[in-house]
């Protein structure tokens, strides 16, 4: 990772500026919805960044990462329901439980490689999904409303939307910095070495299983943090937040932005969620000459465009958006 100014860095810098300046703009424009959308984007970018550490640098394709969002969220939700709303208890516990869950899943799934790993992480996430559906006391299928956001005393008031947004943004910056430091440390080199050739790393004396497991746990923990934030953002947790398509969305974000790049997950998250908001409008606009008044309904079917779009990204833009910006980086 040599410091070289590429167009991707400028995009990232511009994006950071937009993210920083968003709350004042939203309040000036009188558009609180925008702030809510971007809070969600920032939180999901943390989850995508954690997946990128695992997938982009470690080469471990986890298809069950939404499970950690769910675990982190449910810890906050269950504690709130049981009357413990102190964030000093909720958040560390959310991180600890996510870490433990990641340890258990990682220890089992890392015994396998490639496509087995993809399927197994998916299956374990599905298991946790059904466990959440079965938790009748905590809402089961319908989910659980959180009536009181995590309390941090006089430190910060999470029900203040702007303060909460900046907290999420600061945590995203912190996670990104942490991942950047990790990736460029000795630990990160071993992880990346094990991605390109596990056997060779093993034979020069690195216990790669332990390194990979550590990477898995770190990634799961950071994702659990995103879950705790998301629970506070929506004031609600439900099994739907860890449905397997959410895990697929996270993979899409990482690959769309550019796997194995520091700012790729953020770019990918912004792109995907913006597409989710913009595609329906674009489709109905495009359909208007042909369908007239029916055009507004055509926008409902935006995923019919998103699906093939993903296929095209896979076929022709393998490096994602960051890859398009920096040009062909590696073979």
């Amino acid at each position: 990772m040599i410091a070289r100014r590429s167009p991707g860095d400028f995009v990232a810098a511009a994006l950071l500026f937009v993210l920083l300046a968003l709350p004042p703009y939203a309040s000036l424009a009188g558009n609180p919805f925008l702030l809510s959308v971007f809070t969600r984007i920032v939180i999901l970018a943390i989850a995508a960044a954690s997946l990128n550490l695992l997938m982009g640098y470690g080469g471990m394709v986890s298809f069950g990462h939404a499970a950690y969002i769910g675990v982190g969220g449910y810890v906050v939700g269950i504690l709130a329901k049981e009357g413990i709303s102190s964030g000093f208890v909720q958040w560390p516990l959310a991180l600890a439980v996510s870490a433990l869950f990641a340890l258990a899943v990682g220890a089992l799934s890392l015994r396998t490689r490639g496509v087995y790993f993809i399927m197994i992480t998916l299956a374990f996430a599905q298991m946790i999904y059904y466990v959440a559906v079965g938790l009748a006391r905590y809402g089961g299928d319908d989910g659980l409303t959180i009536y009181r956001r995590s309390q941090f005393g006089a430190l910060i008031d999470l029900s203040n939307k702007t303060a909460f947004y900046y907290l999420c943004l600061a945590l995203l910056a912190g996670c990104t910095y942490l991942i950047w430091r990790l990736v460029n440390s000795r630990f990160g080199m071993v992880i990346q070495g094990a991605r390109s050739n596990d056997r060779r790393m093993h034979s020069i004396g690195f216990p790669t299983f332990r390194y990979r497991l550590t990477c898995f746990v770190i990634s799961g923990t950071l994702c659990g943090l995103a879950g705790a934030l998301l629970a506070n953002h929506t004031d609600f947790v439900s099994p739907a937040m860890m449905h397997w398509t959410r895990s697929g969305d996270l993979i899409v974000m990482v690959v769309l932005g550019g796997m194995g790049t520091i700012f790729g997950p953020l770019i990918g998250t912004v792109t995907l969620l913006t597409l989710e908001e913009a595609l329906p409008a674009l489709i109905s606009l495009g359909a208007r000459p042909f369908m007239g008044r029916e055009a507004a309904r055509a926008g409902e079917y935006w995923q019919i465009v998103l699906g093939p779009l993903l296929l095209l990204v896979v076929l022709y833009a393998r490096g994602g958006i960051a890859g398009l910006l920096t040009g062909p980086r590696r073979a």
């Binding site: 396998t112 087995y116 399927m119 299956a123 466990v131 019919i304 998103l306 699906g307 896979v314």
Partner: protein, 305 residues
């Protein structure tokens, strides 16, 4: 005892449905080295085709045959348009591309058939009960699912192990280039295999649709069960898929039926009522975990090169 027997048949029936789905998945994976998440979409398409064709023709059997043919064609078209470009790519590419295809197919079905589910009506001769043992009646339709799926499994085994086509399929699986160099049209072969896998998934989908309904996204949850089957059975192995799907079907059904009572005998009723639903839905995943610890390659790993 009667209940146990009936649940055993239900488990067998779920297991065989899973096998139809898993067989296509494992064939495509074993031969083309392709992870196809959109396999569940073909399962869904089969169900919707059947609902439409039985309504149009007014005959259940004709509708089913037409639906199978349509799913076969849809599968082959999918292979030619999209899947063919994915061979030899990274597995992550497969996951992403086929995830995109799932979104596409779900929306396509919503566009064509609308958001409500479709019912598949059974003819009277199927929608009846039959006395299988003295004093034991069982749904004729569920029984016929078991028979049909067993016949298909047998036919699949015979085609793959005893015919020239099956030999080519096995040859293509162990060495693609060598088989191509010997003059076999490998592209056609792959399109055919993919289409057959699609038709098997469609068969499973339409058979299930008559019990539940044809719904958008119906293939996704059962697809993950099929993944569990493949992991337990060993990727690429038809025999492994067969045994593992029966195992998963039986354990899942029996667990849901009898685990609550079993737990009540051991725990307090209140504790059992909270634990049982969660535990019975975790059961097959726990078994998968145990299989992974003991044999990471699955119970019957296919011989790989």
């Amino acid at each position: 005892m009667l209940l146990v027997f009936e649940q055993f048949l239900n488990g067998l029936q779920l297991g065989l449905l899973l096998f139809l789905l898993a067989a296509g998945l494992t064939l495509v994976f074993g031969i083309m080295d392709l992870v196809n998440l959109a396999h569940g979409s073909l399962y869904m398409l089969g169900a919707y085709f059947a609902a439409t064709f039985t309504t149009i023709t007014g005959s259940f059997l004709v509708g089913v045959v037409l639906a199978l043919a349509a799913t076969l064609l849809a599968g082959m078209a999918l292979e030619v348009v999209a899947m063919r470009r994915l061979y030899g790519r990274d597995h992550l590419d497969h996951v992403l591309a086929t995830f995109g295809l799932i979104l596409f197919f779900n929306e396509l079905v919503r566009l064509v058939w609308g958001p409500e589910g479709r019912n598949l009506t059974l003819p009277p001769w199927l929608n009846s009960s039959v006395e299988i043992l003295p004093g034991v009646t069982y749904s004729m339709y569920r029984l016929s699912i078991i028979v049909v799926a067993l016949l298909v499994a047998l036919a699949l085994y015979l085609v793959i192990m005893r015919t020239r086509l099956g030999m080519l399929v096995r040859a293509g699986a162990s060495n693609r280039e060598m088989t191509g160099a010997l003059g076999v049209n490998i592209n056609l072969l792959y399109t055919l295999v993919f289409g057959v896998g699609a038709a098997l998934a469609g068969l499973a989908g339409l058979m299930q649709a008559a019990i539940l309904t044809a719904q958008i996204g119906m293939g996704e949850n059962i697809l993950i069960l099929a993944f569990v089957v493949i992991i337990i059975g060993g990727i690429g192995s038809i025999r492994g898929a067969f045994i593992a799907s029966l195992l998963v079907g039986l354990i899942d059904t029996m667990g849901r039926a009898f685990l609550p009572d079993l737990l009540k005998a051991m725990l307090s009723p209140a504790a059992a009522a909270t634990v049982a639903p969660a535990l019975s839905s975790m059961l097959i995943y726990l078994i998968m975990a145990v299989v992974l610890v003991v044999r990471p390659e699955g119970l019957f790993p296919a011989a790989r090169k």
